[in-house]
Amino acid sequence: MTSIGTGYDLANSIFSPDGRNFQVEYAVKAVENGGTSIGIRCKDGVVLAVEKVVASKLLKQGANKRIATVDRHLGVVYSGMVPDGRHFVDRSRDEARAWRDTFKTPIPTADLASRMGGYMQAYTLYQSVRPFGITAIVGGFDSELELPVDGEVGSGPAVGAGGKTAGKKHGGPFLYMIEPSGLYWGYYGAAAGKGRQVAKAELEKLDLGGSGELSLEQAVKEAARIIYLSHDDVKDKKFELEMSWISGADGPTKGKHQEVPKALREEAEKEAERLAKKAVEGDDDDDDDDDEDDDKKDGDKMEE
């Protein structure tokens, strides 16, 4: 970074002469230090996964969840500063609730991503705040069925809730990734945090996209494999894998965002561990991502 020390990076919302907001770029650095998180959107659902580096033996196993439910059909995972992620989740839940209050229907994934993108962007506009030190991955399954309006207690109007075009496919799985700048795109495979380079390379090899054939259950296994593969054994020893999934109404989670069942997760992890080991033995010079080496002091472990 050439412009460090010129003063344009000392406050948020300040443009440098070449049009950059350094504080946002520095926030991205905080994300790059965080544990890898990924999202996969396949034909019949979405999988979210995160690598939780176990910083201390004294942590209670499996107790500290990093994937959050925002509404029944929506999940969020993030890399970077965990307290900022909690803030993001709290706000997402408020948005989802406000949407329900207004429209009497669950918030579509795209609208949540839009609102949260706007929220993160607002934190790049003022000197009185700092940008979020996270990149968030939002996964959801918008119901493909005719949903009852919230509060509907009878059979309701015979024509349904409206707003749908006959013969057109509605709803489906969606995945978005929102960066500290507030920028967001829809993805088939998204990755953030330490191991994103490796993860992205692996995601690109999957059969996703338009007519992608990868099934939800396969996606769970791929997600586990990718997290194991992107994990850096040298820098962080132990880690926990946390995974959640969302299927349609006819799938295993019945349209809800849920933790991946233990049996399936363990099966996926076993295979993932085997493959990761094989990959390490196979070629040794493939694991270089662009982390700057700034080992944090053990003082405050905001990222993990």
Binding site: V28, K29, E32, M81
Partner: protein, 263 residues
């Protein structure tokens, strides 16, 4: 005056993506005297070393009851801890009033986590200069959480924060497997032993400088389990426990049967 340009406030990232003000606040936790917390399947205990400003002054309290089912131990700025503790007390009472139940411990902890995070993202605020161990029970069982000035909160099996707490943590890591099945008394003994590891040379645990907090489940007369109200023990109340872990004593509570098996 400052170590660098990026540590003036909590709304400025350093080029590495760090927020120095938050890291400095974490240093304040290390200035406080050590506190230890441990959970078993049925209980959670907090143990603390109290300090006095001078020979003739009283000792600063370290463990506080929050509600019937929860309490905290603090390390760092006591006045910041009081703000958080008052807030937690209010939340617990409010929840009890509207729902008629104990506020689940994780909800309580998330609330102060969110509150502390705000202080790290807005100009004109400063992070809390205190770390907490939160002990409580709810329908899921006993819980122990660590809270940091950054707003980070994590559930632990056992933990220690404050000055020289690394030694206590080492003790806890070494004995980690034993805790789950410990009785109430054994758990307190482990807490005191961990605390002793962190003492400076020639200092001893005394009834003046030692504080213990306990909550958990106990068997009621009709066989049902009931919550043992969080209580802080000081002075003479901790005497037997301290003697139980005295150096010259062959630690009886370490392994095997304890002197008092509950429930």
């Amino acid at each position: 005056m400052f170590r660098n340009n990026y540590d003036n406030d909590s709304v400025t990232f350093s080029p590495q993506g760090r927020i120095f003000q938050v890291e400095y606040a974490a240093e304040a936790v290390k200035q406080g005297s050590v506190v230890v917390g441990i959970t078993s399947k049925k209980h959670v205990v907090l143990v603390a070393l109290k300090r006095n400003a001078e020979e003739l002054s009283s000792y600063q309290k370290k463990i506080f009851a929050i509600d019937e089912h929860a309490g905290i131990a603090i390390a760092g700025l006591t006045s910041d801890a009081r703000v958080l503790s008052n807030f937690m007390k209010q939340q617990c009472l409010g929840h009890r009033l509207t729902y008629g139940r104990d506020l689940p411990v994780r909800m309580l902890v998330d609330m102060i986590g969110a509150k502390a995070q705000q202080n790290t993202q807005q100009y004109g605020k400063r992070p809390y200069g205190v770390g907490l161990l939160i002990a409580g029970v709810d329908e899921q069982g006993p819980h122990l959480f660590e809270f940091q000035p950054s707003g980070m909160t994590e559930e632990m099996v056992a933990f220690a924060i404050g000055a020289r707490s690394q030694m206590a943590r080492t003790y806890l890591e070494k004995n980690l497997e034993l805790f789950a099945d410990c009785s109430r008394e054994e758990l307190i003994a482990h807490g005191l032993k961990a605390l002793k590891e962190s003492l400076v040379q020639d200092r001893e645990l005394t009834i003046e400088n030692t504080s213990v907090g306990v909550t958990g489940f106990s068997k009621a007369d009709d066989g049902s389990t009931k919550v043992e109200q969080f209580k802080v023990f000081d002075g003479q109340e901790v005497n037997a426990w301290i003697e139980g872990v005295a150096d010259d004593k062959e630690a009886p509570a370490a392994e095997g049967e304890s002197m008092e098996v509950d429930g």
